[in-house]
């Protein structure tokens, strides 16, 4: 009888102590395992971020190099060749003094000036700077329509806002890249560019009825730098890009951007 409370106390002490020790071991193990997991997932995230940044940088550099190559080719093939012809024409003109030679030289000079203007417009269209994105895209479509069998159309909805040149230039380049891809790769007959203003959001859609593509496959090919370049531009802007394409179903690429956030 006297020992019963002693046993109860002994039991309490043993149970309490054992419980506390088990708790301690559990806490220590939990901390070790959980902390390691958190750190590992952070490291993986950092690695993914670093890889993505690397891809973006490569895409930006390649884009720069492509642009330079294109300008160099344009200058060499059109302007350079034309100026060489002008030089020849002037030589003939000085020797012969004939009116036909003068007319010929003048027409080649005109063509050269026209080429230089085209190259300059492709680099930075003055319409974009002076009249905004809508006017620049409309003009872009009209120019393409004149020199191609593909039907280009530009549709605008909503009330346009004037954007900063830097932002409208980025959007213009994205459209240029998308249209260029559609013309080069899709075999499309119709390309539509639509610009919808729904304050505070702007939606830009480039759609074609071409052969379509698999976004995942494209990203794997040649490092997928073209798509990374597009995503890079959109990211800098703070916009989101959505691809809707599959082989033989055409392509619809949608950009959404909150232009009042900037």
């Amino acid at each position: 009888m006297d020992r019963s409370p002693e046993y109860q106390v002994a039991f309490l002490i043993v149970l309490g102590t054992a419980g506390m020790l088990v708790l301690v071991v559990a806490i220590v193990l939990f901390v070790i395992v959980y902390q390691k997991r958190i750190l590992q997932s952070q490291l993986e995230k950092q690695q993914l971020e670093a890889n993505f940044q690397q891809k973006m940088l490569e895409a930006a550099l390649e884009s720069q190099e492509n642009e330079r190559r294109r300008i160099a080719a344009d200058l060499h093939d059109s302007v350079g060749a034309m100026l060489a012809t002008v030089k020849l024409g002037m030589g003939n003109m000085l020797r012969s003094g004939k009116t036909e030679d003068q007319d010929f030289t003048r027409s080649v000079l005109d063509e050269t000036i026209s080429s230089v203007r085209k190259i300059s417009r492709d680099l930075m269209p003055s319409t974009l700077e002076h009249y905004g994105l809508s006017a620049a895209l409309r003009e872009f479509c009209e120019r393409l329509q004149q020199s191609s069998d593909i039907t280009f159309s530009f549709i605008e909805e909503g009330e346009a806002s004037m954007l900063a040149l830097r932002d409208s230039s980025t959007l213009y380049r994205i459209v240029q890249e998308l249209v260029s891809n559609a013309v080069k790769h899709s075999g499309a007959k119709v390309v539509t560019i639509s610009l919808t203003w729904k304050k505070p959001e702007l939606m830009l859609v480039v759609q074609d009825n071409g052969c379509g593509f698999s976004v995942e496959e494209k990203k794997k090919q040649n490092g997928g730098l073209g798509l990374y370049n597009l995503e890079n531009r959109a990211r800098v802007l703070g916009a989101t890009l959505n691809y809707n394409s599959a082989p033989a179903t055409g392509t619809r690429i949608e950009l959404r951007w909150n232009y009042e956030k900037t």
Partner: protein, 219 residues
Amino acid sequence: MTPELYIVLVYIQTGLSAFIAGFAFWKFNSRDQIVKLIGLAFLLGFLSNSAALVMNLIFKLNPNLPQSIYKILIFWVLGAIYYHALGKRNKLIYILLSLAFTVFALINLLVIQKSQINSYASIVTAIIIIIYAVHYFYRLMIDLPTLNLQRLPMFWFNAAFLLFYSGALFLFVFTDYLVNVLNNNLLVYWGFHNILNIVAHLIMLVGLWIDLRNIKSPS
């Protein structure tokens, strides 16, 4: 548990305390502040154990006084350790807590439990240290200082404190009952307390060894 075995455990515990103090103070200048404080804590432990042994075995006096004083001093040292370990934040809280504990412990020593085992002070110490220790583990998961926690000396020190104070808490709570009712059988419980203390000392040694290794080959 015989009295002889109990005394052997006390000797082992005292010896380990001295060893830990020496190990912590070795290469003093290149040691972290926390390690130096660990050394101080175990030096105080060694001194209080030695004083208790001398008073009890040689002079046949009540050995509780050095232990009671030790409890007050160790609270300050442990507070300083956790203050440094938790990023030197909220200094005032640690100071106020230590002051409050000191007042409580002195009142307990002079008025309440007097020359008996001052278990109330032990209970308060245990609860506070458990809170400090759990808080430190929580901070480890927030701050994420390293991938391998096992290479952090304070991880081991903290584990040792948590193990000892959690394991001994229930003993402290029932000390009065054990002393007054189980006079002849309380050695079993205090023997367990000493074994727990020795295990904590060994974990502490692991932490000190890792600290020394980190000094020799920092990674």
